[in-house]
């Protein structure tokens, strides 16, 4: 059971003026997730659920689940879902978009799925300007398969397939794919946020909402990269992993709106670029 804000003594004492200020969106199911303790996927699911609810989208949504840790996303988000082969979610979403112009089409992919095996599909969906919204959770590792190196893994980061740390000479450099995609004219909105702390989560939600609105308003491709942690894959406690996320990870993957070619941008709050420099106790 989630602790309801109204169960606090102060809230109870103010019974006469009690009002509901926060509740779980209905589109989020009651199931416990299979995610590891401290994992950021649950936060991103929650943000998506809130945004879909606020924009009145759940009944119109057809979502595409990836291969990776979020493969069971349909267990937690109560909308129509199709499972895509590894990396192919943007192509699957293209098919849905073209035959269902009225639907709200959402993809959810991790960094192995989107930035490694699925690069062709994401690049061309973006280049075509497909009117879909891509949520890209980047935790710099293949979590589902046991913590192998991803194209997004930081230099020097140890994983089960880079046991001595990622060596640029042998394994190349981390890929900032959202910046790459932002070059394409078909991309209306591209932004990178983080689940690093409460303030960042709030900003991430604004980005996700904007990306969804782009689709509703008839814009082109929209993508939000959510930097996330993987305590188990990174070999850290949840707290250490959040410190890592707010430090070295953000150094490699700067936060902010990378491109917003949509009209009406000015009406929206400026997000991301004004993020405070993250605390970095490790550095």
């Amino acid at each position: 059971m989630t602790l309801h804000p109204l169960t606090s003594p102060r809230a109870r004492s103010a019974d006469a003026t009690a009002r509901l200020i926060y509740r779980k969106p209905d589109v989020l199911t009651d199931r416990s997730t299979h995610y590891c303790p401290g994992c950021g996927h649950g936060v991103v699911h929650r943000l998506i659920a809130e945004v879909l609810t606020e924009l009145d989208l759940p009944a119109h949504t057809i979502a595409v689940a990836p291969v990776g840790c979020a493969v069971f996303a349909y267990d937690y988000l109560n909308v129509d879902f199709v499972e895509a082969p590894h990396g192919r979610a943007p192509a699957v979403a293209t098919g849905i978009r073209r035959v269902r112009p009225e639907a709200f089409v959402l993809t959810y992919q991790g960094d192995g799925d989107l930035a490694a095996i699925g690069t062709a599909e994401i690049v061309h969906a973006a280049a075509r300007g497909e009117r879909i919204t891509a949520i890209f959770v980047n935790n710099g590792i293949y979590g589902m398969t046991g913590g192998q190196m991803a194209p997004t893994t930081l230099l020097g980061q140890r994983t089960t397939s880079s046991p001595n740390g990622r060596d640029a000479a042998l394994m190349g450099y981390p890929i900032r794919i959202t910046e790459m995609l932002a070059q394409l004219e078909g991309v209306t909105y591209a932004a990178r946020g983080s689940i690093g702390d409460v303030s960042l989560i709030g900003k991430l939600k604004v980005m996700i909402k904007r990306a969804c609105q782009v689709q509703i308003e008839g814009g082109g491709f929209s993508i939000v990269e959510a930097l996330s942690n993987c305590p188990v894959g990174w070999g850290m406690t949840p707290q250490q992993s959040l410190d890592q996320l707010r430090g070295p990870v953000v150094d490699a993957y700067p936060l902010g709106v990378i491109v917003d070619r949509g009209s009406g941008t000015s009406a929206l709050p400026e997000v991301g670029l004004g993020c405070p420099a993250p605390a970095n106790p490790e550095a």
Binding site: V71, D80, A91, V92, G95, V99, E121, V123, H124
Partner: protein, 415 residues
């Protein structure tokens, strides 16, 4: 059902032309006829990627689908194309994808997902010669790939093999029906000759009835959310899904076998062939009958489910069977499994984009007959030595690939 009036070929046809076409036969390229048949069958969306020898199919769709307000997307790869098809089909749309052999290999992954998640779709393979990049000549070397599984996992897909452009147009509608009735991908295989040749086509287009699907993803308005998926990490649940799939395949095998027989009533020999090879076989049969060989044609139209019982029944009264393919001999394995030794089964095939000539096939038939006669005569005079081989090697002998030169050499090497 579509009315004749809805049949429109091309954009520049006048009403009078259409009227005349409705009554007569039109000259159409195979790839274009297949594409138009899909359009007339109500195909909502087509996704493709250029590859020879199926490019005309893609090009026809590129022009016609937008004209009709339907969906055409040229994808970034065959992977992209088939996954777009997966997404569109998951919403209940009628979807077609086409490619040729190397492209089909790339599509194998999504075919497995679609079979596993029960997503209907029609995939056309205009086969070319392999392996690898191979060549662009006609071939039937993807029989194993089509009938024994393209991707991973225990699954089958119905495979339809037309032998003429007219038949191809009919089978396109059948393919959509099978796909939707059984919730499965369906393959239609033709070789480069059928794809690229032109021949007079009778307009036998058909629009399969539309159904509402209780699984299609349309947005969960006023109903519980739906999921189209193949994953199940609980072994017992996954086995149950597999058992359901196998049940479906048995149903398909029981109900959907299609084949054609020609001149089989008095036949002592039969040629088993499909697609273009069957057309060559017909010519060879006509020639052979003039020479007094009583031979007929057994032509599988569904390669899976293979007409095994029908062939088994027939083989009991035959002296021998010759299988002809544009391959090294793939379907012949299914022929032998069906025949179970009831009569000798010989094979003749060409590879690399070459097509056997009727003369070659007739030669292989003569060789088979000679072999059968030798065996029968040897059985008849069991206690006397078998007679010498008639006249050394006759012309047909070299086509008797049951005992190809290389296998003799291997036997020799061991000695």
């Amino acid at each position: 059902m579509t009315t004749d009036r809805e049949i429109v070929i091309g954009t520049r046809a006048t009403a009078a032309e259409l009227e005349s076409r409705r009554r007569s036969r039109v000259l159409m390229k195979g790839n274009e006829a297949i594409a138009e048949a899909a359009i007339q069958a109500g195909c909502d969306a087509y996704f493709g990627y250029p590859i020879t020898p199926q490019a005309e199919l893609l090009e026809w769709m590129a022009r016609r689908m937008p004209e009709l307000g339907r969906v055409f997307v040229q994808a970034e790869s065959e992977l992209g194309a088939i996954n777009m098809a997966l997404g569109a089909a998951a919403t209940g749309a009628r979807v077609m994808v086409s490619s040729s052999s190397p492209g089909i290999s790339l599509m194998a992954e999504a075919m497995s997902y679609m079979a596993g998640s029960g997503t209907p779709m029609v995939l056309v393979n205009i086969m070319r010669a392999g392996p690898g990049l191979g060549g662009i000549g006609p071939s039937q070397s993807d029989y194993f790939q089509a009938t024994k599984g393209h991707g991973h996992g225990d699954y089958r897909v119905p495979v339809l093999a037309p032998a003429s452009i007219g038949e191809a147009t009919e089978l396109v509608a059948t393919a959509f029906e099978l796909a939707e009735n059984y919730r499965t991908p369906v393959m239609l295989v033709a070789d480069g000759i059928l794809g690229q040749a032109m021949e007079p086509v009778e307009l036998r287009f058909r629009t399969p009835e539309r159904h509402t699907f209780d699984w299609a993803l349309t947005g969960a308005a006023g109903r519980p959310a739906r999921v189209v998926k193949s994953i199940d990490l609980v072994p017992e649940v996954l086995e149950a899904r597999n058992l359901a799939l196998q049940h479906k395949y048995r149903e398909i095998a029981r109900r959907e076998v299609r084949w054609e027989g020609w001149q089989l009533d008095d036949a002592e020999f039969a040629i088993v062939a499909y697609g273009t090879a069957a057309r060559v076989a017909r010519s060879a049969i006509a020639q052979a009958r003039q020479k007094g060989i009583r031979v007929g044609l057994f032509r599988p139209i569904t390669l899976w489910p293979f007409p095994d019982r029908e062939l088994a029944r027939l083989s009991g009264r035959l002296h021998g069977i010759l299988t002809v393919e544009l391959s090294s001999g793939q379907m012949v394995e299914d022929v032998r499994l069906a025949v179970e030794g009831r009569c000798p089964v010989a094979f003749h095939g060409r590879m690399g984009g070459l097509v056997p000539t009727p003369d070659e096939v007739r030669g292989a038939l003569k060789a088979l007959r000679a072999r059968v006669e030798r065996t029968r005569s040897a059985e008849h005079h069991a206690h006397v030595p078998a007679p010498p081989r008639p006249h050394g090697h006759d012309a047909g002998e070299r086509f008797e690939t049951d005992f190809p030169a290389h296998s003799n050499a291997r036997r020799g090497g061991r000695r």
